[in-house]
Symmetry: C2
Subunit: 147 residues, 2 copies
DNA sequence: GTCATTATGACAATATCTTGTCAATTGTTT
DNA sequence: AAACAATTGACAAGATATTGTCATAATGAC
């Protein structure tokens, strides 16, 4: 059996996706390091900052496509370092709601101040059409595996 | 400062890329597990199988956008388990060339037998145009960070 | 040829992530 | 209400990843 034309390209996207995510994690670590953060913790920070409502650890994990244990570990550390605090969850005794502390909000804003020009700069080399179509396709692929 | 339109979409691609790569790694682990492999080792296997020539560990790492130490570790393990063997490198005394053993080739082919219908099936839900444009864009983004 | 720089393997420390397990909680079915 | 299933936090073990460091090897500048 051989790859169809679409199957071949799909496979190349898979491979490229692994590569890109590694490169972006490095880039994120590099950007976050001066603020005492890492790419992984920045992602948690962002998930909470972009959310309208407080989130449980499990919800964060599902949003990020990661195991809840991995997220729990990061959230616990970030709670100890004062970036995150837990609120009681009226709907669940054990599953507390994670929210950013003022320090956490501040850290996120400092990261944004660096990330925004970084993203704008790199994105300027692409067309909006390519970027949007790529995003839609990536989300479509993610959707295949997160159902 | 705010994200430009392109910067915003670029950032969403970054986030989606992290998520997708995690989901794909899980998928790869699931597929590889019955053959005693993992997603990470499968990727090494594939890098060697798809290469025209034997590769050094450093070359594999650069292809994959990972540190050479991470790849070295996997390659060493795979050498112990008989999937990979080292050839002398006429151009470098210490940097041996990694090649698949017959067992390694066989493992890769067994993985292909599962991966091909997997990829063809999922890819059938997309258009070739979207897939190809996405691949080109992802490679372009990777290129920004691997120079 | 010599010297400085770069690349590489080996080793260690650490961070991140997965799976597995267990008890507590919540939701569902009957 | 009771029984069963699904979700969640906590904990542990292992795999995969990063960075840092050192000695050796290759490359380039002079």
């Amino acid at each position: 059996m051989k790859h169809s034309a679409k199957g071949h390209t799909f496979t190349e996207i898979v491979i490229e996706s692994f590569k890109l995510s590694g490169l972006l994690a490095n880039e994120g670590d590099r950007i976050a390091a001066p603020l005492g953060l890492s790419s992984a913790r920045w992602k948690i920070l962002g998930a909470l900052a972009r959310s309208e409502t407080p989130l449980t650890v499990s919800q964060i994990a599902r949003n990020m496509g990661q195991s809840r244990q991995a997220v729990q570990s990061l959230v616990n550390i970030m709670s100890e370092t004062g970036l995150i605090e837990f609120q009681n969850n009226p709907n669940h005794k054990r599953a507390k709601l994670a929210v950013l502390t003022p320090t956490g909000v501040n850290s996120y804003q400092e990261m944004e101040a660096i990330q925004i020009p970084w993203a704008n700069d790199y994105a300027s080399q692409m067309t909006i059409d390519d970027l949007e179509r790529t995003l839609v396709t990536l989300k479509k692929i993610s959707g295949l595996f997160s159902a």
